[in-house]
Symmetry: C2
Subunit: 511 residues, 2 copies
């Protein structure tokens, strides 16, 4: 197949729009392989995102349906473990028998690692998040619901700095999400103050210091009068996703770094694309710590911690062919339809900067001020290299339009992110392409119903319906939020190149 | 007039919606007075937001059309001063003759102060921003445009920390906005490196250290190859607005504090409401430092600094009648249709905390970490008092849904803000009311065209047209962004109480 890019200019009154049309000489199909990576005690590692034997090996372009399980499931065994074979397997721990006995220094249950054929240090790994779905709980008693945990934990930002007594308290709030009605909010069910828990080996845990301990509900007081009438918008995302760093073998899953990991940005959600610098052979991608809702800062130590199944596409960019945005990439970069997001940390590469004791020292050196300095430099560098701006142009632009936010203040290596609006760069960052030819190009069927102004994309047994101007579409019978509404320009449906690449991958998934 | 509030429940399938309908026994009119406060050398103070003789005195409920002028106008005399009588008057400075000779320690041109009749310490002053318009420049040569300045200044976050030489450079970028075509973006025109400027009194300014100096364009090199093709979204806002603090007489306009001032949050825009704690008799509201665009952090030291004319409504809330959100308010609080925004600073009240040398010491103690701590406590306190949550509920909710951002890192007393989504609280924070009765209640005429689903609100010679579902409306013939689209619920147009109060004031303005 040969793609021939032709740039047309469509004149619309005073506005002109450059549109790249792809003509293809043959309609050979786009057929990435779809893998399924279920979570169980064989396919997850607990607390470690370092090097290790792959749970799965894929080729660039492949799609993986990956199960991610929350490490907080033990806070309500009945609602979050019971009846779910995978979760039961991971959490299985009786005296003298513990499936996940091998622990890293961190807390998260990480599915993987996934090795990517041919990935080498200096390459960049792109991960598109094609789909995220709450994992229904396995207990018939709570059918149709998914539960999540928010723990105001000892590593929270205001721990000990409270008004009410005891100031040093940990409080677990259980949240509920509807997995059948398609509601997009979470409500609190009850909360309880953490009391000392004894694990199956007889060790007592006076604080939340070891995930996997099943809380004995006979030892706690449940308070059901919590956040009545409050409906928290669901923002499904992976709290922790990243490749293995080269600097250490076993790596704590808690502090994020240049390789990604526990970035805890709620924008790492369906429709987003992450780019990670590869520093070990195979890249070794780990995925975990799913969240149903989190604010920028994750102030009390956790989000709504829940279990999620995602579809991701993994694309390897070789060092020699990196574009200006990815060349020399030294941080986890996020892209979505509307934004680039730069992630800075107190230490850009804490394992290297803090040396042999980095994995303990990082928790003594947390600072938003340092993270802001890192984010500021990375943002300027990104605008200069990626958008080909002079230093003065980049610095002015970030002051007048980039929004800096506090990603998290609870993961040791604290985070500040910068949001860069793609729209301000016009066609250069949101390249308009004609929908029909773009999708037909890789073999999809494109239908159009003029009466309802609805486009139907069919490929590989998958069907996506989108109505002009609508913010949601229908994907295989289910309502989904669209990356962007589609619009008509001069008689043609025009979308962004990002949009095409995203839905191309989504449609390519096989069951 | 007596208002009788009746709460109805409208049942819509599984959902119910409580709607407060106002019945009024007489249609006596709502007639706040409209004042005009032009900016000239008599009505502005330069660099000081402290106590002082009022430029205007108003009653609670009054509307003020207030002109605000940027202190950066001297960076391009031809585009930003020439031909504008008010600006020329303020900037008039020849040897031995300087209209604004009396300067505070700060930099901003502040219009006011506006005294509010009956305002006393302990009260809260509400300021609704009803309208903001770019001030067209006065030079025929540049008709139909407004210009703005972004200065990468010596107080910028990366000053001296640059890649290119000289690292310690200040660069001024001139931006252009269209005031006729209604475009909502800014484009860069040219930039130049600041060179030493000599003021009319013979003093040399090697850096940007004294606003009001007219830059001699014979001494600079203009570079017109700047940010080509980049269109920056316009976010008109007042960078500096607030009441006089009680702790000092002359107060630097640069560091924001509990009384507001240079908060530099771009959300302080049309449609927003600010609440300030009053600490001196008359409140003494000052307004200035208008911006056409700024990112969260204002990283290089300035925004797109331009001149703007706004309509504000000033409402006094007496101490004895404050609701739970305003009782004990100790920071500038923002509300809009969708959010509450809490503002924290490195020092919540720097004048009190840092003592006699506060106005110099604050610049040595800037810290985002401190500002985050302040914002975290204020947000928890606000949720507890304002939403009647327990401490555990508030702390959990902020972790799972409040977004903390970096307001600015360039104003001495650095800022962190928290965005609290009103929608999550349902009707309690976004109280639905029936549009027709709410507007008829104060004497407005409400029209409805079924064919086009358009509501027309007429009052006082002002007309607002809104189509169901549309994000923009027509106000007196001009397209305006609506606070929210209107929607039909059970055959009635239902909007929020906030919406009604906002448009009620907007319609009440007289010419």
């Amino acid at each position: 197949m040969r793609n021939v890019g032709v740039t047309l200019s469509l004149f619309l009154g005073a506005n002109s729009l450059s549109v790249v049309m792809y003509a293809n000489t043959t309609n050979d199909a786009y057929k990435p392989k779809t893998h399924v990576l279920k979570a169980n005690s064989e396919t997850v590692r607990w607390g470690n995102i370092g090097k290790g034997d792959p749970a799965l090996t894929v080729h660039s372009g492949d799609i993986v349906t990956v199960e991610a399980i929350t490490h907080h499931s033990g806070d309500d065994y009945e609602r979050m473990i019971k009846g779910d074979a995978g979760v039961e397997d991971i959490f299985h721990w009786i005296e003298g028998e513990k499936n996940e006995a091998l622990r890293g220094p961190g807390v998260h249950i990480m599915t993987g690692p996934i090795a990517v054929e041919g990935a080498e240090p200096g390459d960049v790994l792109e991960v598109k998040i094609l789909d995220m779905k709450l994992r229904p709980n396995g207990n018939d008693q709570y059918a149709g619901k998914t539960y999540g945990v928010n723990a105001a934990a000892n590593w929270g930002y205001l721990y000990g700095d409270m008004v009410e007594e005891p100031k040093k308290r940990e409080v677990v709030t259980i949240y509920e999400m509807d997995t059948e009605g398609g509601t997009d909010y979470a409500t609190a069910v009850y909360n309880y103050k953490w009391s000392a828990q004894t694990d199956p080996d007889g060790q007592v845990h006076p604080t939340i210091d070891y995930p996997g301990v099943i809380v004995d509900h006979n030892t706690i007081d449940k308070n059901f009068d919590v956040l009545k009438g409050v409906k928290i918008p669901v923002r499904l995302h992976f709290g922790t996703m990243g490749v293995a760093p080269k600097e250490a073998d076993v790596v704590d899953s808690v502090p994020p770094s240049y390789n990604g990991g526990n970035v805890d940005d709620w924008r790492i959600t369906e429709g987003a694309t992450m780019y990670y610098p590869v520093s070990v052979a195979g890249a070794l991608l780990s995925i975990g710590d799913p969240h149903a809702g989190q604010g920028d800062s994750e102030i009390n130590g956790t989000a709504i911690e829940t279990s999620v199944t995602g579809d991701i596409q993994v694309i390897l960019h070789k060092k020699a062919s990196l574009n200006n945005k990815l060349k020399g990439l030294n941080f986890p970069l996020l892209e979505n339809e509307n934004e680039w997001v730069v992630h800075g940390f107190s230490y850009a590469n804490y394992l290297e900067e803090l040396g042999a004791s980095a994995q303990t020292d990082i928790f003594k050196n947390s600072s938003i001020d340092k993270a802001m300095k890192d984010a500021a430099h990375k943002t300027k560098d990104f605008l200069m290299a990626g958008m080909e701006l002079s230093e003065d142009e980049a610095y002015s632009l970030m002051s007048v339009s980039a929004d800096f936010g506090i990603t998290q203040v609870v993961d040791g290596n604290w985070g500040v992110h910068a949001l860069i609006d793609k729209g301000q760069f016009g066609d250069s960052e949101r390249k308009p392409v004609v929908l029909r030819s773009s999708f037909e190009n890789f073999g999809a069927k494109v239908g159009w119903q003029p009466a309802t102004k609805t486009v139907t994309l069919s490929y590989n047994g998958n069907v996506l319906e989108m109505k002009v101007g609508a913010t949601t579409g229908i994907y295989n019978g289910e309502t989904v939020k669209l990356a962007a509404p589609i619009s008509v320009v001069n008689g043609k449906i025009v979308v962004s190149e990002y949009f095409v690449n995203f839905y191309k991958a989504k449609l390519a998934k096989t069951e």
